[in-house]
């Protein structure tokens, strides 16, 4: 669906983006992450035909965005990180205006505008002036605007910045609906926990270079394969009980390291797989140790992010 090949962009001599290659299949929510200045907006602006790359190519559904920008625009819906709205225009007129800019017929425009306003839950605000909407509502309206011509690919640059938790949850719901409708979405954000819940795959950029691009499922599997086990003991069970647990653990095969970050919390790095895990649990229950919680630390995107964007 979206294919980026060796995309490079220099601002003057400053390399904002270097040799980025990426492919996103259809019907995927793809997260685009990276620290400030990593080149996310630069990439998205190139894809949205607002900027030409220094070198490299990108195509959407086989249409080259550099050589055939006019055709590509029909396939792409773009929501920039910063945008404004017009005064003296109602929500419906706002959508209608952009619909006309995309040269959509009057009936179709009306149908789309109504549908989209329902989708973004602003149906009751259709005749309100855009100016009087809150920021989060404007952001949703701008999302609707980028959908008015029924594009195949959506490029969203930090669509949830400045939204309250509820609005962000709504936004997630809307994005999931869009995926069900068959859209491909490229979304950048700095809110990592939400991203890891939402997206199917993700790319992390650092200083204009790709440092990680992976399916979220395989990333999670890879990360949790060697993630430490966390064992919480009953609060106030006494030092002896804790020592007994440590002794028990040390006797077991595959235990490489035991940490005690809190008095009643142990972290165990385990070499080996599920077999060792099961044995450990059996052993501890058999000895009647005061274990209240036993789990693998789930994948933490933030940690991954920190690791791969570390600067040497």
């Amino acid at each position: 669906m979206l294919k980026i090949e060796h995309l490079t962009k220099h601002y003057g001599t400053f390399p904002a983006l270097q040799d980025l290659s990426l492919e996103i299949p259809e019907r995927q929510l793809h997260g685009f992450l990276g620290p400030n200045g990593a080149g996310k907006t630069t990439t998205m602006r190139i894809l949205a035909t607002l900027m030409t790359p220094t070198s490299g190519r990108a195509s959407v559904d086989g249409v080259d965005v550099v050589r055939k920008p006019h055709e590509a625009r029909k396939l792409i819906g773009y929501m920039p990180d910063f945008f404004g709205t017009y005064d003296n225009l109602t929500c419906r007129e706002y959508l209608d205006f952009y619909g006309r800019c995309y040269r959509i017929g009057a009936k179709e425009r009306q149908r789309m505008a109504d549908q989209l306003l329902e989708l973004i839950q602003l149906g009751d605000k259709r005749d309100t002036y855009v100016d009087s909407l809150s920021r989060g509502m404007k952001q949703r309206l701008c999302l609707a605007r980028s959908l008015i011509h029924d594009p195949k690919l959506l490029i969203l640059d930090e669509p949830a910045s400045g939204m309250d938790p509820r609005a962000r949850a709504d936004m997630k719901g809307i994005l999931r609906t869009l995926r069900e409708m068959g859209k491909t979405v490229l979304i950048s954000s700095h809110i990592l926990p939400e991203m890891s819940e939402l997206v199917d795959s993700l790319t992390i950029l650092n200083r204009g270079r790709l440092v990680l691009s992976e399916d979220v499922k395989s990333l999670a599997a890879r990360m949790s394969g060697n993630a430490p086990l966390e064992i919480r003991l009953a609060e106030g069970c006494g030092e002896e009980a804790v020592d007994a647990v440590v002794v028990c653990l040390k006797e077991l095969p595959g235990v490489a390291e035991i940490l005690q970050p809190e008095p009643y919390l142990l972290q165990v790095r385990l070499e080996g797989g599920d077999e060792q895990c099961m044995q450990m649990l059996r052993e501890m229950t058999a000895r009647g140790l005061p274990v209240t919680d036993f789990h693998r630390i789930p994948m933490n995107l933030e940690q991954v992010f920190m690791e791969v964007t570390q600067d040497e």
Binding site: A48, T49, L50, M51, T52, P69, H70, R73, K74, I76, Y78, P80, F82, F83, G84, T85, Y86, D87, N88, L89, E93, F97, Y98, R100, C101, Y102, R103, C142, R145, H149
Partner: protein, 319 residues
């Protein structure tokens, strides 16, 4: 209206209170001038005095509109493109399938329609002079057409400047500068080319023709044809020639009887009137030619503006 930029900009403008205020102030001011100048002359028979006063009023109204359009035009268009940049809405337009020419022309036509509305709103005041006498309705229409041409020019300059700049303020300043530059450059032949030594003895074109070597009327410098201000004076002089004997300055209240009493400005005005009288083409034609020049220059500027709005352009003034 197939151009969405035109349709929606117009909708938004018409919904703003400032528009109502502008039109009211414009029409009201002209009406006030007309009523103050012509009071006591309605309902009486037409006399030579009333006709002269009517003509005077007509001249002032037309000149005032000309001045106002040159002032308002750039102010109104300065935000056409630069405002979209400031508001961060231009990119949202550029990613749609609307070409930059449609954006530029939509913005231009919308501002032009607003100026045209102002000109039309000035019609009642202009027509009062027809009632008093001295001016015919067709003359009012002709000057309205000329004003429409001038409005077109200012709007094109405004959109051009707006396409160059990052902010409306810069773009407004830039358009006034461009207009001043055009006015000065096209007036150069008059400033440097007029035969000053004979001005004080020349009263009309016949005398001038007698004084020139070959005894024939001369073409004035082509560059001067392109100056809208000269176009305006030529048009008004031509329209009022019946009452003034060919020169505006013969209308009481505009020229002065003796040369000694003339101020510097009146001296210049006289120079201009005589200069224009010498022309073979005649006042209406000069006005027509300067309208044409405005139209051509405006279109060229619009072309450049279109080029400047394209999405992938790198720099604008104010970066």
């Amino acid at each position: 209206m197939s151009n969405p930029i035109l349709a929606f900009s117009a909708t938004r403008r018409m919904r703003s209170f400032r528009t109502i205020l502008t039109v009211t102030a414009y029409a009201g001011m002209l009406l006030l001038i007309a009523i103050l100048m012509l009071k006591g002359m309605f309902g009486t028979s037409v006399t030579i005095q009333s006709m002269q006063q009517g003509v005077r009023c007509y001249l002032i109204l037309t000149a005032a509109q000309f001045g106002l359009l040159v002032l308002i035009g750039p102010a109104m268009t300065s935000g056409a493109i630069a405002g979209e940049r400031e508001r961060q809405t231009l990119e949202l337009l550029l990613v749609t399938n609307t070409r930059s020419f449609r954006i530029a022309s939509g913005k231009m036509l919308e501002s032009y329609a607003m100026l045209a509305l102002l000109i039309v709103s000035g019609m009642p005041a202009m027509c009062l002079t027809v009632v008093v006498g001295g001016v015919s309705f067709s003359q009012v229409l002709v000057s309205m057409l000329f004003l429409l041409a001038v409005a077109f020019g200012t709007v094109c300059v405004g959109v051009f400047a707006s396409a160059c700049c990052r902010t409306s303020v810069r773009s407004g300043v830039m358009s006034y500068r461009i207009i001043a530059l055009i006015a000065v450059i096209t007036a150069l032949p008059f400033i440097f080319g007029y035969p000053r030594n004979i001005t004080d003895v020349v009263y009309d074109s016949q005398q001038y023709a007698a004084l020139t070597k070959d005894g024939a009327l001369k073409m004035i410098h082509p560059l001067l044809y392109c100056n809208p201000g000269f176009g305006l004076v030529a048009l008004l002089q031509d329209q009022t020639s019946l009452l003034s004997g060919g020169s505006l300055e013969n209308i009481p209240g505009f020229g002065t009887a003796t040369m000694v009493q003339r101020t510097q400005y009146q001296q210049w005005g006289r120079l201009l009137c005589t200069y224009l009288m010498m022309d073979r083409a005649g006042g209406q034609s000069i006005a027509l030619i300067s309208s044409g020049a405005i139209a051509v220059a405006g279109s060229v500027l619009m072309g450049i503006a279109t080029f400047l709005i394209r999405p992938r352009r790198k720099r604008v003034i104010g970066d």
